[in-house]
Subunit: 429 residues, 2 copies
């Protein structure tokens, strides 16, 4: 399994790499450089920062002062390892007062997860909801309530919120802040970043992204297999979504359709998909297909029941399989095979280090994963798919909201100047 | 169409971004920084370099002296735009004496393309060969001959060769320098970088990569659509290969199987593929499938004829289609459809800005491209595939060798110290 390159810890700004940069951009870059160094390497003296970054000591002192004035770093103790000269004061990543908000809008729940800049969770909550029966305004009002509750729980230490990133089950143009298509919410071309931003307060940076992308980001940063360079995240619920990490970076593509793997055609004459095409991967392996094949006697009833979550419904399938029901077992074998075929296709495109399955799959993993793993190996060139483990997600429901908070916090590392100066401090010269 | 981010101009080394770096690594990084700046932005004064990079002037002077001592930059004229103070000397990217070699091994030809560090072509040659009837040693000997000829043609100005990157039609573990599988050459686990490196001379850095990857790199850097962030390169010959650029970087995956798109399963009960699976994309759209369907009366004879290149063979199909032959026209329509279905699948994974078709497809473009374009739009979520033009390559046969030279030259920008000091110069202090 290949490991992440240094760049995987965050996209380098590389202001001065291939195009000219002005002084302000260089300073911003260097502030981020110092902050990332402290995040990944722990506390360090100013002299140690200078050695590690190649910046001169006067510059480092000025950068540290700037970061300190914004509550992002603080002095802690002295370096006891130091044997010669006077002991040096160590600087560490602080940022406890600077919060990042991750939100998720899903068909049957809303979630919030708040962390500080160092990634420490300070609050999380999931609230059941039937999003299809709520207006956009009602959903926005609930999200504002959840966010404000989350931030207020952080209490008096809170002094800035760096941003809010919200996950939605749909295709998102991240740069434009627009949800292009979210079929299960009935949204088309919704300028969600602007709408939510206005409701949350104009000063807050709001980003919208696809739920699977943000969940993949969370898997890549804090999941059980964090740090692998190439990760494929596959989530099955009513639909089938994907999040792709290549060389440590999320693949969104030109306009947000990257990772919409549920709509790969697997059978040109297959079943009609919600998207209008035939034989999409999701018509074979997402929840409706599993219910139809595994519990044919209850499939219609379950599909219509809005009080049960996808996980409640797949648990019924798991119970039948556990009891040895031949129909359920055959259906899960089919699902495992089709999962394997699709994963083999993706292996030939992306060659991931690992595949992480989420949503309904962890519940039926014992029947589905071994079959998918076998087919993935069989159907790949030279059986190379053997090298790619298929595992289930350990992050559960909070994955997308956690990815949102990680994404929102990242803004501080890209531009530490987005955090205001502490009120009792002067802007350093 | 999205444009490339700054990082697209070359992978940042980011030595100091997320992990500590030693002084030598920082200096190497900064030397590369200056060199890239001069490549992308043209001549600049030392003071201008300091401003653009954020490095101090003393450091810049020392870096420029180091680069000068290696023939990578040179002083040219003075800055006439400057109004105050004494005129500043401008520094420009030189490197005319430092060569990069791109090679290609294909089933029916070997190619060499030599450039200098600034990308100026100094030599190129293609030599027909039937690689299947040559031993590995014989192929290596021919490649050495081609390389030496290419370098000697550069004449007395040549003083260093930065490296050699060789393209092969197969799955390559680039880090290990091993060709894992090259079915059409009959190679398995060939340590080609080591073998070729030993033959070329131990001091030369030799890299092996997949032909479609290197061709995609060339398309991304110097092709007609150079600079788009996300490019999908699809080449059809005896097999079907792909090269993927995401956010300006090649996608090789964990072990070199990235871009092996010809082995995506399109029909689980389809034709047997050379790889052992059934219904791979290449069984539907690569040359053998086209010949079988379009010229059934001559398919066996053409498949067996080793004196004709894939391009010679596809031209026979194009001639029939031009003359209105219904069988050929129907076959090409089918090929266009299957190309479109596969491209739609890849659109849902990668969402490229553009698809570039190469190999046999440019020859039959007028029949195949409109159909593929139509199906790509039809089969994508919200017809989003409409935003992705399908075009044919303008680089032709030399694409992979050119990509090899680009890759080999890149080494100088990553580590300018790989170029030796000029013999009449002292190592700068």
């Amino acid at each position: 399994m290949s490991t992440a390159t240094p760049a995987a810890a965050g996209t380098p700004v590389s202001v001065a790499r291939s195009q000219p940069a002005d002084h302000a951009a260089v300073r911003r870059h260097n502030l981020g450089l110092v902050l990332r160094l402290l995040r990944s390497g722990g506390p360090r003296s100013r002299a140690g920062i200078a050695v590690a970054t190649g910046l001169n000591k006067a510059t480092v002192s000025s950068l540290v002062a700037e970061l300190e004035s914004r509550g992002l770093v603080r002095d802690v103790g002295t370096d006891r390892e130091r044997r010669l000269g006077r002991p040096a004061t160590l600087v560490e990543l602080d940022g406890r007062g600077v919060l990042a908000i991750g939100l998720e809008v899903n068909v049957d729940f809303l979630s919030v997860l708040v962390t500080d800049v160092a990634g420490r969770e300070v609050h999380s909550r999931t609230r059941p909801i039937d999003a299809r029966h709520h207006s956009l305004d009602a959903i926005v009002a609930l999200l504002v309530e959840l966010s404000e509750e989350g931030v207020s729980i952080a209490g008096p230490t809170r002094r800035a919120v760096t941003g809010c990133t919200v996950a939605v089950p749909g295709v998102v143009d991240v740069d434009a802040g627009v949800v292009r298509i979210a079929p299960n919410l009935g949204w088309h071309d919704v300028p969600f970043a602007a709408v939510l931003g206005a409701a949350l307060g104009a000063e807050l940076a709001v980003t919208v992204d696809n739920e699977a992308n943000l969940a993949a980001l969370a898997e890549h940063r804090v999941g059980q297999h964090a740090g692998v360079a190439n990760l494929l995240y596959v989530i099955g619920e009513v639909g089938l979504g994907g999040g792709i990490v290549v060389d440590g970076h999320l693949v969104r593509g030109a306009s947000g359709f990257g990772g919409e793997i549920g709509h790969m055609t697997m059978e040109r004459d297959g079943l009609r998909c919600n998207c209008g095409s035939r034989g999409c991967w999701e018509t074979l392996v997402a929840l409706p297909a599993v219910l139809r094949a595994a519990v044919p006697d209850r499939a219609d009833e379950l599909a219509a029941d809005e009080n049960l979550s996808p996980e409640d419904k797949i648990r019924i399938v798991a119970e039948r399989a556990s009891s040895g029901d031949a129909v359920a077992l055959a259906a899960l074998r089919d699902v495992g095979e089709w999962l394997g075929v699709g994963l083999a296709n993706l292996f030939h495109v992306l060659n991931p280090d690992i595949v992480v399955l989420a949503g309904i799959y962890p519940v039926v993993a014992e029947w589905v994963v071994p079959v998918a793993t076998e087919v993935l190996a069989e159907q790949t060139l030279g059986h190379a798919g053997r090298s790619c483990p298929v595992v289930v997600s350990s992050l559960g429901f909070s994955a997308a909201a956690r990815g949102g908070a990680i994404h929102a916090a990242e803004r501080v590392f890209d531009d530490p100047l987005c955090v205001p100066v502490l009120s009792d401090q002067k802007e350093p010269s």
